[in-house]
């Protein structure tokens, strides 16, 4: 095997409830802005996608029509990332750019579903009813919005990324694994350059239904650290993609880094008792190697319990490290959650500062110095823990 390759983050594409692009996000983070909708799905909350003109990254209407919201969000963010890395439209480079996408799927036609459920309950669900209604009312192309790997498929079609294409599933853990394995491949010389990230559409009652079965959703908005023992998360829309590449590859094409990706690790703790999560975080923290004095933590804690309480114990054990939380500001962006933490960590390093604390509970405190390292931290609402070490590129 070749020597371990230094890995750079050279592109970031970001859309979310807070807007589009790096400047808009930085400004929103500095101002502590939150975009939460407590009306549309009341009593539940979502952080809806800020208005986006999809044409800018998905020029063909015919392509847009073939996608549902999740795929449009992801394909758009992927385009922003490629643009940010300076490789958009560079066919030769894109043809050997590897891709790992974290995606769910299953977008549904909620109108068709509601009509079938209504008839089902009213009529006692006669045999063949569902068949008949689905056969006649489902749009054939909806299936293509239901397959998780078709987000990657759309990125290949719209942006021409065709090096390799792998889709990871499994909620937040999918995003953790995507970053971890894309990084491992580059560090080991199995890949030179990769597009990695995920997307999530929060404005879907059919998916909220799934989380509500576990009573996991928050009803009244409060900052994550002040949600009390019941906790609860608010789904948040986001598309987050990173271009990562070996330093050698980046320098050969004259690309500038946002930051260096120095490590990415994952855990899979049982969540009861709570200590197992805290212990997993400690193990991952050690696995990332020694920390410098001016390190900071960017966490995605969402208020999901017992995950957030377990994470808080970990943070309290490292009280000397400044913390910034994304959960209050973005909600739970699921498959995009870990890529989001890595993206915001890299952005902070490239701006030479941590954004302002957005919390009165004492978890987030003003930082006296610019961070040289950021540890991105993510705990899935049910399973999956991830950490990445991001450093100022020298």
């Amino acid at each position: 095997m070749t020597d371990r390759q230094e890995t750079w983050i050279t592109g970031i594409g970001l859309i979310s409830s807070l807007g589009e692009g790096l400047d808009a996000h930085w400004e929103a983070l500095e101002q502590g802005r939150v975009n939460v909708d407590d009306k549309t799905f009341a009593p539940w909350l979502v952080h809806p996608l800020a208005p986006v003109t999809f044409d800018a990254q998905i020029p063909k209407k015919s392509d847009q029509r073939q996608m549902e919201a999740l795929q449009r969000i992801g394909t758009y963010a992927a385009g922003l990332a490629l643009e940010s890395a300076g490789i958009k439209g560079k066919a030769d480079l894109l043809a050997r750019t590897d891709m790992i996408v974290a995606s769910g799927g299953g977008e549904r036609d909620v109108g068709v579903d509601a009509a079938i459920m209504t008839e089902m309950v009213a009529s006692g669900a006669p045999s063949g009813l569902v068949n008949e209604r689905l056969m006649h009312n489902l749009r054939p192309t909806l299936f293509l919005a239901q397959l998780p790997n078709l987000l990657a498929g759309n990125i290949s079609i719209v942006h021409g990324v065709t090096g390799s294409s792998r889709t990871f599933m499994g909620e937040e853990e999918a995003g953790i694994n995507a970053v971890r394995i894309a990084f491992a491949r580059i560090a080991a010389g199995q890949s030179d350059i990769a597009l990695v990230g995920g997307a999530y559409n929060s404005e879907r009652l059919d998916l909220m239904l799934l989380y509500e079965c576990a009573a996991a959703l928050r009803r009244e908005f409060a900052p994550v650290w002040q949600r009390g023992p019941a906790g609860g998360f608010a789904p948040g829309s986001a598309g987050v993609f990173l271009v990562i590449e070996s330093r050698r590859h980046a320098e050969a094409r004259g690309a500038r880094p946002f930051a260096r990706l120095a490590g990415a690790v994952a855990g899979h703790a049982r969540r009861a008792p709570q200590e197992t999560l805290t212990g997993t975080f400690e193990a991952m923290w050690r696995e990332l190697g020694p920390r410098e004095a001016d390190a900071a933590i960017v966490t995605t804690a969402t208020g999901a319990e017992p995950a957030t309480a377990g994470e808080r114990r970990f943070l309290e054990a490292h009280a000397d490290v400044p913390v910034r939380g994304l959960g209050t500001r973005f909600g739970n962006t699921m498959e995009a959650q870990f890529p989001l933490a890595v993206a915001i960590g890299a952005l902070s390093l490239s701006r030479g500062a941590l954004f302002a604390p957005g919390d009165a509970s004492g978890v987030e405190r003003a930082a006296s110095q610019a961070p040289a390292q950021v540890v991105a931290v993510c705990a899935g609402h049910w399973r999956g823990e991830g950490m990445a070490l991001i450093e100022r590129a020298k």
Binding site: Q146, P148, R166
Partner: protein
């Protein structure tokens, strides 16, 4: 030392355990016997009403209990069965303590109609049943098990817990290439030196009414319902679509060095993996077959093999008009004049298209082919398609000298993966 590494200096990756469940039965021995006999696992669907549907057949697995029934539950059960067989054969680690990570190719998990119906009825509401109505009954504490069951990562979580695999399990989908991608991820992890072993599992239990209808609306399925066994006809002139099927395959991969050190029996070698991503269309292959050609060539390059080394192709061979034509075009371009004389066969003629599982299921059949030096037939090959001038192993198994197999898997979304499997490390 050197003999444990391939030409590129990477650890050689071998297979030391395999498990298989298809509509033909559970266990690789039973499956092999039936495959060689040319038996079909395709039958009329009895799991749900099929009235009014154009396609009423599938390769369902009805002999594995999965209660309460859902595609997620069945995918979970058959994945466990296959992995149990593979881990037992490899005799690796301790029970519940597998010394490596899990890579799982799995059908996308979704909430199903039976669940919606239960939640709708539990709401006690009448009139319009919207998701908002269901939401009100969902959070009452009685339905927490639905959350876990229908998380996309749940099957992998259950497998990881049961087998004690290391680290975070990976659930993946590359559509109909998923099973091959799971193997590829395992191979890469071993080559990186991250682990000495990996458990690669692929599972698909998704024959339910809605899934069948979705494929049907894309006109992808065979509608030749009578007799069911005759519906899957890869490379035949009168093929009219694929047959949905269920299945699971599991492989224990190890570095040759670790397998040798513990005296494990080596069942075969994953010599190479190749990918080729197609940006032409969401469901159709590029008409010039370039991505498929690139995929097969990448696999050969990865293995360090000239095309001449391949003496059998385990085809993707779905029995759709488009796939079989494009696969033939790709093979012809890669293998040139030899293309017409390399025995090729499609397991899908007998077990249908096991979708997310197919890449692993067919890799296992390829390894069994190498072990037995006998190629399973492509059944229903009664009227060869004159536009496919390949050496299809028609209707009866064939004894052959097989040293290196190419196993192809192509999927929606431009996903193509080819694996190269051999008998002996070299």
């Amino acid at each position: 030392m050197a003999k444990f590494r391939d030409r590129a200096g990477r650890p050689i990756v071998v297979v030391t355990g395999m498990g298989l469940v298809t509509s033909l039965g559970a266990g690789k021995d039973d499956n092999w016997r039936r495959l060689i006999a040319g038996e079909s696992g395709i039958r009329a669907i009895t799991r749900f009403p099929t009235e009014g549907l154009k396609t009423r057949i599938a390769g369902t697995i009805d002999f594995v209990p999965a209660e309460p029934f859902s595609s997620a539950e069945l995918s979970d059960r058959i994945a466990h069965l296959a992995a149990e067989e593979a881990v037992a054969e490899a005799a690796i680690g301790a029970r519940g303590d597998f010394p490596g990570p899990l890579f799982l190719a799995v059908a996308p998990i979704e909430m199903e109609w039976s669940v919606r119906e239960t939640l709708a009825r539990a709401s006690g509401a009448s009139g319009d049943m919207t998701y908002a109505v269901l939401m009100r009954s969902a959070g009452n504490g009685r339905f927490g098990h639905y959350h876990e069951r229908f998380m996309l990562g749940s099957v992998a979580d259950h497998l990881a817990r049961h087998f004690g695999t290391r680290g975070a399990p990976v659930s993946l989908s590359t559509a109909c290439a998923s099973g091959a991608s799971a193997i590829q991820l395992g191979v890469e992890a071993i080559r990186r030196g991250e682990t000495e072993a990996a458990l690669c599992v692929a599972s698909d239990g998704s024959v339910n009414a809605e899934a069948l209808i979705r494929f049907s609306l894309l006109s992808a399925l065979s509608t030749r319902n009578e007799p069911p066994q005759g519906a899957s006809r890869p490379f035949s002139k009168d093929r009219d679509g694929f047959v949905m099927a269920e299945g699971a395959g599991a492989l224990v991969l190890e570095s040759l060095e670790a397998a040798t050190a513990r005296g494990a029996e080596i069942l075969g070698v994953v010599a190479g993996c190749g990918e080729g991503t197609d940006s032409f269309h969401r469901t159709r292959s590029s008409p010039d077959a370039k991505p498929i050609i690139g995929c097969m060539e990448n696999a050969l390059t990865d293995a360090g093999f000239a095309a001449g080394r391949i003496d059998h192709i385990n085809a993707h061979g779905t029995s759709t008009p488009e796939n079989d034509k494009m696969e033939c075009l790709g093979i012809t371009a890669v293998f040139g004049e030899r293309a017409a004389s390399i025995p090729i066969s499609s397991n899908k003629s007998m077990i249908g298209h096991t979708l997310s599982a197919a890449g692993a299921v067919e890799a296992i059949v390829s390894l069994l082919t190498l072990a037995h030096q006998r190629i399973p037939p492509t059944i229903n090959h009664d009227i060869p398609d004159p536009a496919i001038p390949l050496d299809v192993v028609s209707n009866a198994a064939r004894d052959a000298r097989v040293t290196a197999v190419m196993s192809n898997s192509f999927g929606f979304g431009g996903q193509n993966v080819s694996l190269i499997l051999t008998r002996e490390p070299e």
